[in-house]
Symmetry: C2
């Protein structure tokens, strides 16, 4: 391994000067600087970041924990964040917890041991014990935590999409197209926006919100099929991309044509939805990613206290061809 001392010897300076040259630190005589750089290139030297991190007590490394490894949304966020962060000399350590809170806990411990500056994650809390150990760790850790997508901890900085606004937007779109019998499929946490849209129209939802939180794929498939057959909705609104995928399968297996037999709206946009001209509620992924990067960069200067903030982004409606005005009733 080539160290600053090797360079120093060949360039006829001290390793202190080599270090300074690489950091553009204090003024160095231009000739000296050039000599150091030439020797370094020749030897293939670059400063050991591990040593530098240890000394400076700053790794310039961010830990990102992904809970839904299959969801392309996170690929996009990861891509964006890494690219921006890299420009500013940061590095990204990535881990997958597969939705398992114990696994997430271990990953956090490991990232902490790795002295990352920041941990970006979607807190997984299945019990108060989960909650407490996480909360206590976060309180005592010198690491900054950023909650992504969800935000169970109120006093910890979070960035997420306003899901209720999204479900409001979607429901309103369906209602304004004359659909009263809407089958909502998905996470109960999005029920508010749906109800709000009905209230605004001075209507009451004739069909019960179909809560599929925590259901397996198979169970979801059957629930959706049953609800579709029983409730005879004129429109379906599935409230996450994975559920949209299953819903499309059911519709297809039931030989129900979109949009002639039934209107279909998806929460979360995805490539296949675009391909099939299915209207969707999209998320400003890039805006969210950018703001996270800015937050992280802001930690560099604000040395001490950082006040927690919550930032939510509004989803938007992407009209394609899966929602038709309803003439049926």
């Amino acid at each position: 391994m080539i160290t600053s001392k090797d360079v120093a010897k060949l360039a006829g300076v001290s390793h202190t000067t080599v270090s300074r040259a690489f950091r553009g630190d204090a003024k160095i005589k231009p000739e000296t600087y050039q000599r150091i750089m030439n020797v370094s290139k020749e030897l293939g030297y670059s400063p050991n970041r591990i040593a530098s991190s240890l000394r400076q007590k700053n790794t310039k490394t961010i830990g990102l924990i992904i809970s839904h490894g299959f969801n392309p949304l996170f690929l996009k966020i990861t891509h964006r964040i890494e690219t921006e962060l890299a420009i500013h000399g940061y590095h990204l350590l990535i881990s997958f917890d597969d939705g398992d809170s114990d696994k997430q806990w271990n990953i956090i411990q490991s990232l902490a041991a790795g002295q990352v500056n920041v941990i970006i994650f979607t807190p997984l809390i299945h019990s108060t014990a989960d909650h407490n150990r996480l909360y206590s760790l976060i309180q005592h850790s010198p690491i900054r935590f950023i909650q992504l997508i969800s935000n169970p901890f109120e006093d910890i900085t979070s960035f997420y999409f306003d899901d209720n606004y999204g479900s409001y937007l979607g429901t309103r779109h369906l209602l304004s197209n004359g659909h009263n019998r809407i089958l909502m499929i998905g996470g109960i946490n999005r029920v508010e926006g749906y109800e709000k849209a009905y209230q605004e129209s001075e209507l009451t939802p004739p069909i019960k919100f179909s809560d599929l939180t925590g259901s397996t794929e198979e169970a979801s498939y059957h629930n959706i099929k049953e609800a579709l057959l029983k409730e005879k909705p004129t429109a379906v609104f599935s409230v996450s991309e994975p559920l949209s995928y299953i819903t499309y399968q059911v519709l297809s297996d039931l030989a129900m044509q979109i949009p002639s037999d039934i209107s279909f709206l998806s929460f979360d946009d995805e490539r296949w939805l675009q391909l099939l001209h299915i209207s969707a509620i999209g998320h400003p992924v890039q805006a969210l990613s950018n703001v996270i990067v800015r937050e992280i960069l802001s930690y560099e200067t604000s040395d001490s206290e950082v006040y927690p903030s919550s930032t939510s982004f509004k989803p938007f409606l992407i009209e394609r061809n899966s929602v038709l005005p309803n003439n049926k009733q």
Copy 2:
């Protein structure tokens, strides 16, 4: 920051002993061990991995560079590799080069400065200069390099899918269904398998291979449309997932029904292809990922020389409902 010295003081031992306790190193009196662990838990101490890495000259960190940030295939590989590696105490630093060879070069420099053990990447070579600087770096670096998916460097370990076998398999499948007029769309590097399948059937391809390497999405769209209209194939075989996506759009815009109007086969499997019952050539992603992990773990023991190896995996045919026997001619 809590260090081993803090723990040592409270536990009434030396920090050397604390270090040993955490590494399960030499034998430590059970009581001493317990005391150390109790104190550590109380203080929330865990060994600083940066310091440990510096001292041991081993970061247990792998750098993964992703060239096609949009391709879900790499998400799968990343997920799998990270999960397996984590079990063995390794960490994953991820970067995106967006297909830009200079960016890739910078990332490699940065990963090297970060003392990663291994760099997994798809070499991006657009000129002999690209080739030479990469090759020279790899030769002189203490880091192990693993070529992923493609392998321009013969004497550097690589893991990839046998693309020509895949295109052979697909072409054969189409031919055996009576399709002679096959429109092949995609990377010219897959032409061999296609020709081999024709040869085996003692046929000559009536339609020219449509090489779209380096085309923009828009250009590809128009090329495919034109070829489809001009050549009147009975089957299309698009030789990468992004091209399958575009091909599907063209087919859809041309109102050509799959499989009644035309048979369709996709290289690279993806969720939306499954949803639409489109037959595909799949890749054993998990097998590839596992073997990469095993390779990395093997570096732990084999201290000195590692002999470069090439490992390719055979793609397989996934029959769904997009290929129909051809009765047209």
